[in-house]
Amino acid sequence: MTLSPANEALAGEIIGWFPRPRSALIPLLHLAQAQDGYLTDEAMRRVGELVGATPAEVKGTAGFYEMFRFEPVGTYLVNVCTNISCLLWGGEELLEHACESLDVEVGGTTDDGMFTVEEAECIAACTEAPCLQVNYRYRGRVTPADFDGLVEDLRAGRTGIAGHGVLAQVRQSIPAERLAGVVPPEQAREAPVWLARNEAGASG
């Protein structure tokens, strides 16, 4: 679907924080993905209209970034790291266990649409190897038994982890009266006022 009225309002706010609308492209695509779980053609077209990009430019940009999906994935995207530090503590074996226990191939989704298992690159929790993320939330030093317990908790809805697409559960918001003011670069050619302190400091 296209963007909901609430997300239209959010999108307008986010665009206003960047000197050029196109800079809001990736944040708005995240907004669309949080709404639908993946990027629909309608949502991408609407995001393109909002930031001044053609549908081809939007898809061409989104396609560069691994987190953006053009097809639905499981409610829970499980990314198992197998990069060097995790390899050393059994990351590949953990990935294998995950696939076996959920009965999917790497990259596959369970029949009930609950889980997609993927092989991840370093997710910056290297001392906690082997580690994984569920919808980009960490679990470290994961044993096969831990993994099975995690799957049970996810199925029972006991983790508080939101469905795929949702990242931060707190959004930035700037009250209008607190905003210093965002303008395109060509409207900000003057030196900012506080730099005048340098002259004052030098002369005084």
Partner: protein, 485 residues
């Protein structure tokens, strides 16, 4: 080789993360050790990420100190402190700041929080555990240089860091630390969080700027070498790493003299190192810069306490996935950019990965190469094609399909990505060649994939040879048409 066991016997018992052994339950991975704490002093508090805790423990006092000075004096203080960039290149921040061309406003600040170098994580902890310290650092930089807007770019996969920064920014705006007339002064600046969507290459500063402009994150052609000349929207832009900026509040409160009281003369202050791999106490440590040696860090009681199960060290990566590998003979080098560079590698992103003698060198090298093959953006042919070739050849060696000529082929492909003598640690009588290497690519991603290959072939050629079981194909002699008659 019968069992290619890079894992060293998983599922062996994993190291115990018990509270009281230096680990903190609320900050997994961080180890609280003895030693000065310049940037992780709040980590002991469970609520270290809140404005309340921050302000109660000296938060935003560095900003207030800066606002009492002229912007130029703040810049001078940072220059005097020799604050080295903590992202990987180790360039002095005060000097980089000086590259801004005068009068070409607006200037921008871009914070590089796209931490994704294999083995690295310290920026994530700094963002999750103390977002206000980072925000304060951004404010100090913007004030000093007349930067009119700050973009805080957080890696896409770091949902908690995004959440903590968003919440911190909301509180800081409301409390008057960010936005219009900061602390009631004439200084006004907006800080906006932006975030990525899964692309390692975006950590390269010009690729990050492309991403921030809403495009594919591919590095820009150089020159210009520094975004300080031409950056975001073609305007002068300072790109600083999260950890670099996190140092500024302490520096402004305590001054450059006190800052230089820690660490070594050429590398003052502290640095965060993520030390992972086959260790008894892997962790993220704040370490005095330039003083501590690799040996102390790996074996010291205050740090990682040695290799697991009493095993021997086989090799280690001294500065993230892009760095050439080190061996036992390098253990006594200090954690300082210059000596590590002279020995043929780099401290890079502060990521040290320890591999014990159960590790399969070829498999370990293959995994790092696979990362670069996957993350190559595809802009430069030597990297796009070369990294994939390297990965496939290593894979076939591991699969028992390797040929004797594959070793030379690997080195030859490497030479096409980074020509000339490749920086390797001096061993077996080889001369040390300092990092970084020459490159046929726009950015260093391609040469990074060569590092593990050359490092392991130099040191463990016999392991490659032992895996190579197939013979080279017999060359077919081509007889030109008509030559036979």
């Amino acid at each position: 080789m019968g069992t290619p066991s890079a894992t060293g016997g998983y599922p062996a018992p994993l190291p115990d993360r018990s509270v009281g052994d230096g680990y903190l339950q609320h900050a997994p991975g961080y180890v609280l050790n003895d030693g000065p704490k310049l940037i992780t002093s709040r980590f002991v508090h469970e609520d270290s990420f809140t404005l309340k805790r921050s302000v109660a423990t000296g938060g935003y006092e560095g900003l207030r100190a800066a606002l009492e000075m002229t912007p130029a004096a703040v810049h001078d203080e940072v220059r005097a402190a020799t604050l080295l960039g903590r992202g990987g290149a180790g360039f002095p921040a005060g000097v980089k700041w000086g590259f801004l061309p005068p009068g070409k406003h607006p200037y921008y600040l871009v914070v590089n929080g796209d931490e994704s170098e294999p083995g690295t994580y310290k920026d994530r902890l700094l963002m999750e555990r103390d977002p206000h310290q980072l925000i304060e650092g951004c404010l100090i930089a913007c004030y000093a240089l007349g930067l009119q807007q700050c973009f805080l770019y957080v890696r896409g996969e770091m949902a908690l860091a995004q959440e903590r920064i968003a919440a911190a920014l909301n509180d800081a705006y409301e409390a008057g630390y960010v936005g219009r007339q900061v602390c009631g002064s004439d200084f006004s600046v907006d800080i906006v969080m932006a975030w990525g969507a899964g692309a390692y290459i975006v950590g390269e500063e010009t690729a990050l700027i492309e991403s921030l402009e809403g495009r594919r994150g591919m590095p820009r052609l150089k020159p210009p070498y520094f975004p300080a000349a031409v950056g975001l929207y073609g305007q002068p832009t300072i790109v600083n790493n999260v950890e670099t900026l996190a140092n500024l509040p302490w520096l402004m409160v305590n001054g450059s003299e006190a800052y230089k009281g820690h660490g070594s003369e050429s590398s003052p202050g502290t640095r965060m190192f993520a030390v992972s791999g086959h260790l008894r106490r892997p962790g993220v440590y704040e370490v005095e810069h330039g003083v501590t040696t690799f040996r102390e860090l790996i074996y010291g009681d205050n740090f990682c306490r040695g290799i697991r199960d009493g095993n021997e060290l086989k090799m280690f990566i001294p500065g993230g996935g892009s760095a050439p590998w080190f061996f036992e003979d390098h253990l006594d080098l200090p954690l300082e950019a210059r000596p590590v560079g002279a020995a043929g590698s780099m401290l890079g992103s502060g990521a040290i990965v320890i591999m014990d003698d159960t590790t399969d060198a070829v498999r370990a090298a293959w995994r790092v190469v696979k990362f670069f093959a996957r993350e190559s953006c595809g802009k430069c042919t030597p990297c796009r094609e070369g990294t994939t070739w390297l990965e496939q050849i290593l894979r076939r060696i591991l699969d028992g399909e390797g040929r004797p000529s594959d070793i030379d082929l690997l080195l030859d492909i490497g030479d096409n990505i980074s020509p000339g003598p490749y920086p390797v640690a001096a061993d077996d009588g080889a001369e040390a060649v300092p990092f970084p290497p020459r490159q046929t690519t726009i950015c260093p991603l391609g040469p990074s994939a060569v590092a593990p290959v050359v490092s392991t072939i130099r040191r463990f050629r016999h392991e490659y040879e032992a895996k190579i079981t197939r013979r080279d194909p017999i060359p077919i002699e081509v007889v030109p048409v008509g030559a036979a008659s």
